[in-house]
């Protein structure tokens, strides 16, 4: 049957350009229904969407040529034959209309910006920004003339969406301090009013940002006993017994031989990669890797190559070329090759294709560095991150890195792996010799939450939270798709980016949501592709169904206002009552 074929083909990931993919569970009749539903959307949406399917009366479906849908389907089928990939979230090609409007959008902003810059430059208008002190008049300017053009003229228009101060715990709900700008975001005044909003912005995946309960009491006790600092590095006099306890626990949690912890997540990457690779080594890094990884690689002095985001085919191409041609100029063989990837990409919501990477690893003998900043705690049936999610033995990955900032509601990071690796880190990490070690209360928070996740605190809080998060993720993604928001990323990732394309839409969406009591994160260039500005939602186990429903209601209303509900992607059938009942907040 054609229907089945199409769906099968579409379920795998599409080509590099990223066309439409369906992820449709269910059988027979349901499938036909979905495709019919898709058809309706497709017709309404016309040519703007990539592959459009149309339903026929007898329930059989045929791909209808709309643009080059047929070609794309062929391509997808071909890809399915050549590379069996794990289930991966869909990614929609930017519709051409949106591209034009977005570029036009930037064009207007840029032209206005330039006009304004000239008016400021020749003192026709007074620049409201801060300027350099008079004493430094004849110094070389600290910033090039048009260096911060983007910041002054484009970012500033959306500046109120960032660094919004809050005055309480960033839990399921939070208190955002209202601020007004009398001069178009150059300066702010806090009005003193506090807006209570639903928090879809913090990385509080398991809801451990809390201000009461047994974990909280332990932290309080430790603060009184140890104080709130350390004043020394691990190698000197900063190694508290709490840190050692945490390291043993972390190793057990990860299932590795040993682990080492650090006081800042960012620094864990930036200060430990240099201990692992040096000049003459090659680091192959995902295009969208976090800035801390990029910095660490830069500090290490190793050569860098980049592969397309989460694209194992491209990775293999880079690997083959790199190994066969060796180091540049001398053509000596590389000392070692390290591949650096993240578990969940925080801006894309995608999950790393780990099984395929491990298969490649066997063939190409590289080492794998996995940054689980967002995935640890948030993924997998036991909350052990990506490895747990795919059911992979932790020994398959050489370096497991993660942070305690997100799921654990503390701060700091860890590196786990073989005994030899951790021993090497203990001797050579920059952070160990020169960085101040982590204060005991923070360490205690991690210990308490980790014990809870492992179920060793005598309750099933941890397990319930993991389930609740998984359910919330499924529910939210499902409902957003039903509303025809352009949701991207892996279906099981609690990071949900919703594409808006235009920076101004992002601004409008975010502000209107805030007015209605919902906080979301807005992301745009340079954190994402220029044309793919987006709203990002991070779910938490602390969100109840009522909160999510309220949030969805707000998003739906605002989505209509800013015309963000225009996805051409069909979605799976609505959740059944049973599925909805399956989990209630624990």
């Amino acid at each position: 049957m054609r229907t089945v074929n199409v769906n099968m083909a579409l379920r795998t990931r599409a080509g590099k350009s990223g066309t439409v993919i369906l992820q449709v569970p269910g059988k027979g009749v349901t499938e036909t229904k979905q495709v019919l539903y898709a058809g309706k959307n497709g017709v309404r949406n016309g040519a703007v969407n990539g592959a459009v399917l149309n339903g026929t009366a007898n329930g059989h479906c045929t791909p209808v040529c709309n643009g080059h849908a047929v070609e794309q389907l062929d391509e997808i089928k071909h890809e399915k034959e050549t590379k069996p990939l794990s289930e991966q979230g869909p990614h929609e090609k930017v519709p051409i209309l949106k591209v034009i409007i977005t570029i036009f959008n930037y064009l207007i902003l840029t032209v206005c910006g330039y006009v304004k810059e000239y008016l400021w430059k020749f003192h026709i208008l007074k620049s409201p920004g801060a300027c350099e002190s008079r004493k430094l008049k004849d110094f070389v300017p600290l910033f090039q003339d048009f260096d911060s053009f983007y910041i002054r003229n484009i970012y500033r228009k959306l500046k109120d969406l960032f660094e919004q101060p809050i005055c309480g715990v960033p839990g399921a709900q939070m208190d955002v301090m209202e601020r007004l700008s009398p001069d178009w975001n150059w300066t702010y005044i806090l009005t003193g009013r506090v807006l209570k909003t639903i928090n879809l912005g913090s990385y509080n995946y398991l809801g451990f940002a809390e201000t009461s309960g047994p974990r909280h009491d332990m932290v309080e006790k430790v603060t009184t006993f140890y104080g709130n600092g350390v004043c020394s590095s691990r190698q000197e006099l900063g190694n508290t017994d709490k840190s050692e306890e945490l390291e043993r626990l972390t190793a057990r949690f990860l299932g590795t031989e040993d682990a080492m912890t650090f006081s800042m997540g960012f620094a864990t990457n930036a200060l430990n990669i240099p201990a692992l690779v040096t000049e003459g080594c090659l680091v192959i890094s995902d295009k969208l890797n976090h800035s801390s990884l990029v910095l660490g690689i830069r500090l290490s002095g190793a050569s860098v190559k980049v592969f397309e985001h989460n694209d194992t085919v491209d990775l293999e191409r880079v690997l083959r070329d790199a190994i066969s041609s060796g180091q540049p100029r001398t053509h000596k063989p590389w000392k070692k090759i390290l591949i650096v990837v993240e578990g969940i990409y925080s801006m894309e919501g995608s999950i790393v294709r780990l099984p395929e990477m491990i298969a490649l690893k066997k063939k190409y003998k590289f080492y794998l560095y996995l940054d689980e900043a967002h995935s640890i705690g948030a993924l997998g049936p036991r909350g052990r991150g990506v490895l747990d999610f795919y059911g992979i033995d932790p020994k398959e990955v050489d370096i497991l890195m993660g942070t305690f900032t997100k799921s654990f509601g503390a701060c700091g990071g860890y590196i786990g792996g073989s005994r030899a690796l951790v021993d090497h880190i203990r001797r050579h990490s920059h952070s160990v010799a020169y960085g101040t070690s982590c204060p005991a209360p923070i360490v205690q928070q991690v210990i308490s939450t980790m014990t809870a996740i492992m179920g060793e605190d005598g309750t099933n809080t941890g397990q319930n939270r993991i389930k609740q998060l998984a359910w919330n993720t499924r529910y939210m993604r499902q409902r957003l798709r039903e509303m025809r928001f352009t949701v991207i990323g892996h279906d099981q990732s609690p990071v949900i980016p919703v594409l808006m394309y235009m920076p101004t839409s992002v601004g409008a969406f975010s502000r209107l949501c805030r007015e209605r009591g919902l906080s979301t994160v807005s992301v745009g260039f340079p954190a994402t592709n220029l044309l793919e500005a987006r709203i990002r939602i991070c779910l938490s186990a602390a969100h109840t169904k009522e909160m999510l429903d309220k949030a969805l209601e707000i998003m739906s209303e605002v989505g209509d206002l800013v015309r963000a509900k225009e996805a051409g992607m069909p979605c799976s059938p609505p959740l059944t009552e049973e599925e909805l009942q399956e989990l209630v907040w624990c």
Partner: protein, 486 residues
């Protein structure tokens, strides 16, 4: 078209190029000629546009060859294999801290090892502030500053610290190391020039490396050497004024050097700043709260105007006794870091309880402004006492609370052997109830590896008696160990 004119003109003027004539000639030329010329022109264009061919033909490997190379390639192990008789590295374990005492590996001793200069760690006020904040905000912020990780405490602290220094704006980082390592590359880019002291600590070195600027090291605290480099640069600039107009220049120094205990002559640097038009970045991680009459740092120590310094960075892990770091400066300068400071922008913000503790520590500092001068007096006393050890050389400015004790007569001992001796002194002092530490460095990574030393950190928490007792112990133990050796 104008036959008459054309017949007359050649007689009056030299024959001009007329388009008509040219066109006529073109029309009359035989076809084969035109084709030939056309081909010639195309050939010339091709020659001009073609890349010069390389002598080595481009290496193109077949897939089979690649497979073979991949097959043959054996990488080095990720980390060196552990020897069979390896001993796992063991740091000393601290089980109780704060105040004047420290319990290390089960033994209690008077603390002369950690940078708890003002004794803030272990004071009830700071711990109480932290607990109070914990009850309101929880532990982590679950987000970077940009995305709901900005709490009112952070804003308050930024305002407060800027006011404390008398600067326009402050910015709060969540880790001391990352503060200076992020703020340097936020301004200094590829092509810019940084004049830097050889004695700077590792965090500054990482900042320099991340900036990818041209680094010119001058000898530690040697202003003549710095002036020589600056003069050289002036000559260089004259050669290429266009480039000089775009090259930013910075001097990066530490107020009080962790690695040597010396104080930077900031007054001289300010003089150079205006003379050579070079900006100053000052790291006050060690000097903040310590130098100057009321602990405002090295600027107060020399009595210069703080606004002459372009950017001051410091960590809160020493005098303030918590975690994190901050930068202060003019709004124009500091605000830039909110998008360009990597460690600010891409890291989760500081747990609010630690920010509150820092604020409480700042309160204590302001309530009791004599703390810094008391510490300096004590440091001078310690310096005198330590100088009495014949076998050791004490380095560091007398008023600075950081003292490095070097072995005076090293003979032909290797670095490892000297380190062993120093560790022996540290361990014996521990047995006698004094906590010391050797200065730990990554020997392969340091740009200028300092000689091995015991680093004494003077702090105001111990009583006079405790201090006198610990100084005696150090003198005794050091003499015992070194007399036998040398």
């Amino acid at each position: 078209m104008n036959d008459n004119m054309e017949s007359v003109l050649p007689l009056l003027t030299p024959e001009p190029w007329s388009f008509g004539e040219l066109f006529e000639a073109f029309r009359q030329a035989p076809m084969y000629h035109l084709i030939f010329e056309g081909l010639l022109i195309i050939f010339i264009i091709r020659l001009l546009l073609s890349k010069s061919y390389s002598i080595q033909s481009k290496m193109v490997l077949t897939e089979k060859e690649k497979d073979q190379l991949i097959e043959e390639w054996t990488p080095e192990p990720l980390v060196p294999k552990l020897p069979d008789d390896y001993e796992p590295i063991k740091y000393r374990t601290v089980t109780q801290q704060g105040g004047s005492m420290l319990t290390v590996d089960g033994k209690q001793g008077i603390n002369l090892g950690t940078f708890n200069f003002l004794g803030m760690l272990g004071r009830k006020e700071t711990a109480d502030a932290a607990v109070k904040s914990l009850k309101k905000y929880g532990v982590g912020t679950c987000g970077p500053r940009g995305f709901y990780g900005t709490m009112d405490v952070h804003l308050d602290f930024e305002e407060r610290i800027a006011k404390f220094f008398g600067m326009e704006m402050g910015i709060l980082y969540s880790y001391g190391f990352s503060t200076v390592a992020s703020c340097i590359p936020a301004y200094s880019k590829r092509g810019d020039i940084i004049f830097c002291d050889e004695g700077v600590c590792f965090a500054v070195q990482m900042g320099l490396l991340a900036s990818r600027s041209q680094i010119k090291f001058f000898k530690h605290n040697d202003m003549e050497d710095l002036e020589r480099l600056l003069e050289e640069q002036v000559i260089e600039d004259k050669k290429n004024p266009k480039k000089a107009k775009k090259t930013r220049k910075f001097m990066v120094v530490e107020g009080l050097y962790t690695n040597t205990g010396q104080i930077t002559p900031i007054n001289k640097l300010v003089e150079f700043k205006y003379k050579y038009k070079v900006r100053i970045f000052l790291d006050e991680s060690m000097s903040f709260g310590v130098l100057g009459k009321t602990g405002h740092g090295v600027t107060e120590h020399f009595g210069i105007d703080v606004t002459d310094i372009d950017l001051i960075s410091a960590c809160m892990e020493n005098s303030l006794g918590t975690l994190g770091g901050f930068c202060v400066g003019s709004k124009y300068v500091v605000d830039h870091q909110r998008l360009s400071g990597l460690g600010y922008c891409f890291s989760a913000s500081l747990p609010p309880m630690l920010a509150s503790a820092a604020m409480a520590a700042l309160d204590i500092m302001e309530d009791d402004p004599t703390m810094a001068s008391r510490l300096q007096a004590r440091s001078e006393h310690v310096h005198e006492e330590l100088a009495k050890i014949a076998e050791m050389k004490v380095a560091g400015d007398p008023v600075a609370p950081i003292k490095h004790l070097y072995v005076r007569e090293t003979g032909d001992k290797t670095r490892q052997e000297i380190m062993k001796l120093l560790e022996l002194i540290v361990n014996m002092a521990m047995d006698e109830g004094v906590v010391l530490t050797t200065a730990c460095y990554l020997e392969e990574e340091e740009a200028f590896l300092p000689p091995p030393s015991i680093r004494v950190a003077v702090n105001i928490a111990p009583t006079e008696d405790q201090l006198a007792m610990s100084l005696q112990v150090i003198q005794k133990v050091a003499s015992e160990v070194l007399q036998n050796e040398v």
